[in-house]
Protein backbone atom coordinates (compact mmCIF):
# COMPACT_ATOMS: atom_id res chain seq x y z
CA UNK A 1 0.00 0.00 0.00
CA UNK A 2 1.39 3.41 -0.96
CA UNK A 3 1.49 6.34 1.42
CA UNK A 4 -1.40 7.95 -0.46
CA UNK A 5 -3.43 4.80 -0.24
CA UNK A 6 -2.77 4.64 3.50
CA UNK A 7 -3.90 8.23 3.87
CA UNK A 8 -7.08 7.50 1.94
CA UNK A 9 -7.69 4.52 4.21
CA UNK A 10 -7.34 6.84 7.24
CA UNK A 11 -9.89 9.19 5.69
CA UNK A 12 -12.22 6.26 5.07
CA UNK A 13 -11.84 5.33 8.75
CA UNK A 14 -13.10 8.83 9.61
CA UNK A 15 -16.12 8.08 7.45
CA UNK A 16 -16.70 4.81 9.32
CA UNK A 17 -16.60 6.65 12.64
CA UNK A 18 -19.25 9.11 11.47
CA UNK A 19 -21.44 6.30 10.16
CA UNK A 20 -21.11 4.40 13.44
CA UNK A 21 -21.86 7.63 15.32
CA UNK A 22 -24.99 8.14 13.18
CA UNK A 23 -26.19 4.61 14.00
CA UNK A 24 -25.73 5.24 17.72
CA UNK A 25 -27.56 8.57 17.54
CA UNK A 26 -30.38 6.89 15.64
CA UNK A 27 -30.77 4.36 18.47
CA UNK A 28 -30.69 7.18 21.03
CA UNK A 29 -33.34 9.09 19.03
CA UNK A 30 -35.64 6.05 19.13
CA UNK A 31 -35.08 5.69 22.88
CA UNK A 32 -35.85 9.38 23.39
CA UNK A 33 -39.00 9.09 21.29
CA UNK A 34 -40.21 6.28 23.54
CA UNK A 35 -39.64 8.22 26.74
CA UNK A 36 -42.92 10.12 26.60
CA UNK A 37 -44.60 10.53 29.99
CA UNK A 38 -47.93 11.85 31.18
CA UNK A 39 -49.82 12.73 34.35
CA UNK A 40 -49.74 9.03 35.18
CA UNK A 41 -46.02 9.28 35.90
CA UNK A 42 -45.82 12.92 37.06
CA UNK A 43 -49.13 13.06 38.95
CA UNK A 44 -52.20 15.28 38.51
CA UNK A 45 -50.77 18.18 40.52
CA UNK A 46 -47.59 18.27 38.42
CA UNK A 47 -49.77 18.20 35.32
CA UNK A 48 -51.80 21.18 36.59
CA UNK A 49 -48.55 23.05 37.14
CA UNK A 50 -47.40 22.53 33.55
CA UNK A 51 -44.62 20.04 34.35
CA UNK A 52 -45.95 17.38 31.97
CA UNK A 53 -46.24 19.84 29.10
CA UNK A 54 -42.72 21.20 29.77
CA UNK A 55 -41.30 17.67 29.77
CA UNK A 56 -43.12 16.62 26.60
CA UNK A 57 -41.89 19.74 24.78
CA UNK A 58 -38.31 19.05 25.84
CA UNK A 59 -38.58 15.33 25.05
CA UNK A 60 -39.81 16.08 21.52
CA UNK A 61 -37.11 18.65 21.00
CA UNK A 62 -34.39 16.27 22.16
CA UNK A 63 -35.78 13.59 19.87
CA UNK A 64 -35.61 16.06 16.97
CA UNK A 65 -32.04 17.00 17.88
CA UNK A 66 -30.95 13.36 18.03
CA UNK A 67 -32.64 12.64 14.70
CA UNK A 68 -30.96 15.73 13.23
CA UNK A 69 -27.59 14.55 14.54
CA UNK A 70 -28.19 11.16 12.91
CA UNK A 71 -28.74 12.88 9.56
CA UNK A 72 -25.78 15.23 9.98
CA UNK A 73 -23.37 12.45 10.98
CA UNK A 74 -24.59 10.30 8.10
CA UNK A 75 -24.06 13.15 5.63
CA UNK A 76 -20.55 13.81 6.94
CA UNK A 77 -19.71 10.10 6.81
CA UNK A 78 -20.99 9.77 3.24
CA UNK A 79 -19.12 12.88 2.09
CA UNK A 80 -15.83 11.79 3.67
CA UNK A 81 -16.23 8.26 2.29
CA UNK A 82 -16.83 9.67 -1.19
CA UNK A 83 -13.77 11.94 -0.89
CA UNK A 84 -11.61 9.01 0.19
CA UNK A 85 -12.94 6.79 -2.59
CA UNK A 86 -12.61 9.48 -5.28
CA UNK A 87 -9.14 10.42 -4.15
CA UNK A 88 -8.02 6.81 -4.06
CA UNK A 89 -9.49 6.00 -7.49
CA UNK A 90 -7.96 9.07 -9.10
CA UNK A 91 -4.69 8.46 -7.32
CA UNK A 92 -4.56 4.89 -8.58
CA UNK A 93 -5.24 6.25 -12.07
CA UNK A 94 -2.31 8.63 -11.64
CA UNK A 95 -4.51 11.73 -11.96
CA UNK A 96 -3.42 13.36 -8.72
CA UNK A 97 0.26 12.82 -9.46
CA UNK A 98 -0.17 14.26 -12.95
CA UNK A 99 -2.00 17.28 -11.56
CA UNK A 100 0.79 17.86 -9.05
CA UNK A 101 3.35 17.75 -11.87
CA UNK A 102 1.16 20.17 -13.82
CA UNK A 103 0.98 22.49 -10.78
CA UNK A 104 4.76 22.76 -10.79
CA UNK A 105 4.80 24.02 -14.42
Amino acid sequence: MTSFEAQCVELAKDADKWTAGADLMNGAAHTAEGLGMSAEQFGAIADEHGVVSAYVTLQRQLTNLLTGATTAFGTIGNTVALVAQTYLEEDLAGEHAMRRIGDRD
Binding site: Q7, A28, G43, Y55, L62, T86
Partner: protein, 257 residues
Protein backbone atom coordinates in the same frame (compact mmCIF):
# COMPACT_ATOMS: atom_id res chain seq x y z
CA UNK B 1 -42.13 -2.56 47.89
CA UNK B 2 -38.73 -1.34 49.01
CA UNK B 3 -35.88 0.43 47.31
CA UNK B 4 -35.52 4.16 47.12
CA UNK B 5 -39.28 4.59 46.68
CA UNK B 6 -40.37 2.04 49.29
CA UNK B 7 -41.55 4.88 51.54
CA UNK B 8 -43.78 6.16 48.71
CA UNK B 9 -45.33 2.71 48.21
CA UNK B 10 -45.90 2.38 51.95
CA UNK B 11 -47.46 5.84 52.12
CA UNK B 12 -49.91 5.00 49.31
CA UNK B 13 -50.83 1.66 50.81
CA UNK B 14 -51.33 3.20 54.27
CA UNK B 15 -53.62 5.90 52.81
CA UNK B 16 -55.67 3.27 50.95
CA UNK B 17 -56.04 1.27 54.13
CA UNK B 18 -56.86 4.41 56.17
CA UNK B 19 -59.57 5.38 53.66
CA UNK B 20 -61.36 2.11 54.42
CA UNK B 21 -60.93 2.48 58.19
CA UNK B 22 -62.17 6.07 58.16
CA UNK B 23 -65.25 5.13 56.09
CA UNK B 24 -66.10 2.40 58.61
CA UNK B 25 -65.47 4.84 61.50
CA UNK B 26 -67.80 7.42 59.91
CA UNK B 27 -70.58 4.84 59.52
CA UNK B 28 -70.11 3.90 63.20
CA UNK B 29 -70.19 7.55 64.29
CA UNK B 30 -73.49 8.07 62.44
CA UNK B 31 -74.98 4.94 64.06
CA UNK B 32 -73.76 5.86 67.55
CA UNK B 33 -74.93 9.47 67.31
CA UNK B 34 -78.37 8.49 65.98
CA UNK B 35 -78.76 6.08 68.85
CA UNK B 36 -77.41 8.56 71.45
CA UNK B 37 -79.63 11.43 70.32
CA UNK B 38 -82.66 9.68 71.81
CA UNK B 39 -81.14 10.02 75.26
CA UNK B 40 -79.87 13.60 75.03
CA UNK B 41 -81.87 16.69 76.05
CA UNK B 42 -83.31 18.53 73.00
CA UNK B 43 -80.91 21.48 73.16
CA UNK B 44 -77.82 19.27 73.32
CA UNK B 45 -79.20 16.87 70.71
CA UNK B 46 -79.68 19.74 68.29
CA UNK B 47 -76.09 20.88 68.80
CA UNK B 48 -74.79 17.33 68.33
CA UNK B 49 -76.84 16.96 65.15
CA UNK B 50 -75.35 20.15 63.70
CA UNK B 51 -71.79 19.35 64.68
CA UNK B 52 -72.12 15.82 63.30
CA UNK B 53 -73.30 17.27 59.99
CA UNK B 54 -70.28 19.58 60.00
CA UNK B 55 -67.96 16.67 60.72
CA UNK B 56 -69.61 14.69 57.90
CA UNK B 57 -69.04 17.56 55.47
CA UNK B 58 -65.38 17.93 56.45
CA UNK B 59 -64.74 14.20 56.44
CA UNK B 60 -66.40 13.56 53.06
CA UNK B 61 -64.54 16.50 51.56
CA UNK B 62 -61.21 15.04 52.75
CA UNK B 63 -62.15 11.51 51.69
CA UNK B 64 -63.22 12.59 48.17
CA UNK B 65 -60.25 14.90 47.70
CA UNK B 66 -57.59 12.34 48.61
CA UNK B 67 -59.40 9.56 46.75
CA UNK B 68 -59.40 11.63 43.53
CA UNK B 69 -55.77 12.60 44.02
CA UNK B 70 -54.80 8.95 44.44
CA UNK B 71 -56.10 8.17 40.95
CA UNK B 72 -53.27 10.22 39.39
CA UNK B 73 -50.78 10.17 42.21
CA UNK B 74 -47.67 10.02 40.00
CA UNK B 75 -44.94 7.42 40.10
CA UNK B 76 -41.50 8.26 41.48
CA UNK B 77 -40.27 4.83 40.31
CA UNK B 78 -41.38 5.52 36.71
CA UNK B 79 -39.79 8.98 36.78
CA UNK B 80 -36.51 7.53 38.06
CA UNK B 81 -36.65 4.76 35.45
CA UNK B 82 -37.06 7.38 32.71
CA UNK B 83 -34.16 9.39 34.16
CA UNK B 84 -32.05 6.24 34.10
CA UNK B 85 -32.98 5.56 30.44
CA UNK B 86 -32.06 9.12 29.47
CA UNK B 87 -28.75 8.56 31.23
CA UNK B 88 -27.79 5.10 30.05
CA UNK B 89 -29.28 5.06 26.55
CA UNK B 90 -29.10 8.67 25.42
CA UNK B 91 -26.56 10.62 27.48
CA UNK B 92 -24.07 7.74 27.32
CA UNK B 93 -24.33 7.61 23.52
CA UNK B 94 -23.88 11.36 23.24
CA UNK B 95 -20.87 11.24 25.61
CA UNK B 96 -19.31 8.38 23.64
CA UNK B 97 -19.79 10.27 20.39
CA UNK B 98 -18.33 13.44 21.91
CA UNK B 99 -15.18 11.46 22.61
CA UNK B 100 -15.07 9.34 19.43
CA UNK B 101 -15.87 12.15 17.03
CA UNK B 102 -13.47 14.75 18.43
CA UNK B 103 -11.09 15.93 15.74
CA UNK B 104 -8.09 14.81 17.78
CA UNK B 105 -9.42 11.24 17.64
CA UNK B 106 -10.05 11.21 13.89
CA UNK B 107 -7.76 8.78 12.01
CA UNK B 108 -7.22 11.42 9.30
CA UNK B 109 -5.90 13.93 11.85
CA UNK B 110 -2.36 14.95 10.83
CA UNK B 111 -2.54 13.07 7.49
CA UNK B 112 -4.29 15.67 5.34
CA UNK B 113 -4.25 19.43 4.72
CA UNK B 114 -5.82 21.88 2.25
CA UNK B 115 -8.99 23.98 2.07
CA UNK B 116 -11.31 20.99 2.39
CA UNK B 117 -9.45 19.65 5.40
CA UNK B 118 -9.76 23.05 7.09
CA UNK B 119 -13.47 23.13 6.26
CA UNK B 120 -13.86 19.55 7.50
CA UNK B 121 -12.18 20.44 10.76
CA UNK B 122 -14.63 23.31 11.29
CA UNK B 123 -17.52 20.90 10.65
CA UNK B 124 -16.12 18.38 13.14
CA UNK B 125 -15.62 21.09 15.78
CA UNK B 126 -19.13 22.40 15.16
CA UNK B 127 -20.65 18.94 15.59
CA UNK B 128 -18.64 18.42 18.75
CA UNK B 129 -19.89 21.68 20.23
CA UNK B 130 -23.48 20.60 19.50
CA UNK B 131 -22.78 17.23 21.17
CA UNK B 132 -21.31 18.97 24.21
CA UNK B 133 -24.33 21.27 24.50
CA UNK B 134 -26.68 18.31 24.22
CA UNK B 135 -24.72 16.44 26.88
CA UNK B 136 -25.22 19.31 29.34
CA UNK B 137 -28.99 19.35 28.68
CA UNK B 138 -29.29 15.59 29.20
CA UNK B 139 -27.40 15.70 32.51
CA UNK B 140 -29.80 18.40 33.75
CA UNK B 141 -32.87 16.58 32.45
CA UNK B 142 -31.97 13.44 34.31
CA UNK B 143 -31.32 15.25 37.58
CA UNK B 144 -34.56 17.25 37.21
CA UNK B 145 -36.60 14.05 36.74
CA UNK B 146 -35.03 12.59 39.88
CA UNK B 147 -35.77 15.81 41.77
CA UNK B 148 -39.44 15.62 40.69
CA UNK B 149 -39.54 11.96 41.78
CA UNK B 150 -38.25 13.03 45.22
CA UNK B 151 -40.89 15.76 45.46
CA UNK B 152 -43.72 13.38 44.53
CA UNK B 153 -42.49 10.87 47.09
CA UNK B 154 -42.11 13.47 49.87
CA UNK B 155 -45.53 14.93 49.12
CA UNK B 156 -47.29 11.59 49.46
CA UNK B 157 -45.43 10.77 52.66
CA UNK B 158 -46.76 14.07 54.07
CA UNK B 159 -50.24 13.22 52.79
CA UNK B 160 -50.09 9.84 54.47
CA UNK B 161 -49.12 11.39 57.81
CA UNK B 162 -51.94 13.95 57.48
CA UNK B 163 -54.61 11.46 56.44
CA UNK B 164 -53.59 8.86 59.03
CA UNK B 165 -54.02 11.61 61.63
CA UNK B 166 -57.55 12.29 60.42
CA UNK B 167 -58.33 8.58 60.20
CA UNK B 168 -57.05 8.04 63.77
CA UNK B 169 -59.25 10.86 65.01
CA UNK B 170 -62.29 9.36 63.24
CA UNK B 171 -61.63 5.94 64.81
CA UNK B 172 -61.26 7.49 68.28
CA UNK B 173 -64.43 9.53 67.68
CA UNK B 174 -66.33 6.38 66.67
CA UNK B 175 -65.30 4.72 69.94
CA UNK B 176 -66.02 7.80 72.05
CA UNK B 177 -69.52 8.23 70.60
CA UNK B 178 -70.51 4.88 72.14
CA UNK B 179 -70.76 6.71 75.44
CA UNK B 180 -73.67 9.16 75.26
CA UNK B 181 -72.04 11.77 77.52
CA UNK B 182 -68.84 11.88 75.47
CA UNK B 183 -70.55 12.40 72.08
CA UNK B 184 -70.33 16.24 71.93
CA UNK B 185 -66.62 16.32 72.85
CA UNK B 186 -65.79 13.43 70.51
CA UNK B 187 -67.44 15.15 67.54
CA UNK B 188 -65.76 18.49 68.35
CA UNK B 189 -62.35 16.77 68.59
CA UNK B 190 -62.84 15.05 65.22
CA UNK B 191 -63.82 18.38 63.61
CA UNK B 192 -60.58 19.80 65.02
CA UNK B 193 -58.65 16.88 63.46
CA UNK B 194 -60.23 17.65 60.06
CA UNK B 195 -59.02 21.25 60.36
CA UNK B 196 -55.53 19.97 61.22
CA UNK B 197 -55.67 17.70 58.16
CA UNK B 198 -56.44 20.60 55.81
CA UNK B 199 -53.72 22.68 57.46
CA UNK B 200 -51.18 19.92 56.84
CA UNK B 201 -52.43 19.54 53.24
CA UNK B 202 -51.95 23.26 52.61
CA UNK B 203 -48.40 23.23 54.01
CA UNK B 204 -47.36 20.10 52.07
CA UNK B 205 -49.04 21.33 48.89
CA UNK B 206 -47.20 24.66 49.06
CA UNK B 207 -43.84 22.91 49.40
CA UNK B 208 -44.74 20.49 46.60
CA UNK B 209 -46.00 23.09 44.14
CA UNK B 210 -43.00 25.36 44.79
CA UNK B 211 -40.74 22.44 43.93
CA UNK B 212 -42.81 21.59 40.83
CA UNK B 213 -42.72 25.22 39.65
CA UNK B 214 -38.97 25.33 40.10
CA UNK B 215 -38.47 22.05 38.22
CA UNK B 216 -40.81 23.16 35.44
CA UNK B 217 -38.70 26.31 35.09
CA UNK B 218 -35.63 24.08 34.74
CA UNK B 219 -37.28 22.01 31.98
CA UNK B 220 -38.37 25.21 30.21
CA UNK B 221 -34.83 26.55 30.54
CA UNK B 222 -33.40 23.41 28.95
CA UNK B 223 -35.84 23.74 26.05
CA UNK B 224 -34.77 27.32 25.34
CA UNK B 225 -31.09 26.31 25.35
CA UNK B 226 -31.73 25.02 21.84
CA UNK B 227 -33.67 26.91 19.25
CA UNK B 228 -37.39 26.37 19.32
CA UNK B 229 -37.44 23.75 16.56
CA UNK B 230 -34.68 21.69 18.16
CA UNK B 231 -32.62 21.82 14.99
CA UNK B 232 -29.27 20.09 14.86
CA UNK B 233 -26.57 22.08 13.00
CA UNK B 234 -26.07 20.57 9.56
CA UNK B 235 -22.60 20.66 7.97
CA UNK B 236 -22.53 23.65 5.63
CA UNK B 237 -18.79 24.03 4.97
CA UNK B 238 -17.63 22.57 1.64
CA UNK B 239 -15.27 19.68 2.21
CA UNK B 240 -16.39 17.19 -0.44
CA UNK B 241 -13.97 17.99 -3.27
CA UNK B 242 -11.40 15.20 -3.46
CA UNK B 243 -11.38 15.12 -7.25
CA UNK B 244 -8.95 16.62 -9.74
CA UNK B 245 -11.20 15.70 -12.64
CA UNK B 246 -14.08 18.02 -11.75
CA UNK B 247 -14.68 21.58 -12.96
CA UNK B 248 -12.02 23.27 -10.86
CA UNK B 249 -9.43 20.61 -11.82
CA UNK B 250 -8.11 20.70 -8.26
CA UNK B 251 -8.64 18.57 -5.17
CA UNK B 252 -9.27 20.60 -1.99
CA UNK B 253 -7.80 17.70 -0.04
CA UNK B 254 -4.00 17.47 0.01
CA UNK B 255 -2.15 14.60 1.65
CA UNK B 256 0.59 15.62 4.07
CA UNK B 257 3.74 14.16 2.59
Amino acid sequence: MGGVDGAFDEAISSIESALKKARKAWDDIVDHVNWGLKFLPDGVADQVRKSTQKLGGEYHKADGWIFDLLLERGSPAALRAAAEQWNSKVLQVVSDNTKNLAFANMPSNGRWKGDAQIAYRSVVDNQNKALDDLKGILVELSSTLNAIADSVKDYWIEMAVAYLGLCGAMVVCALATIGIVTIPTAIATAIGAAALFWGAVTTASNVFTNSLDSNKAKLDGLTTQNNAEGTWPLPTAEFGDGSVLDEDKKSDWEPIA
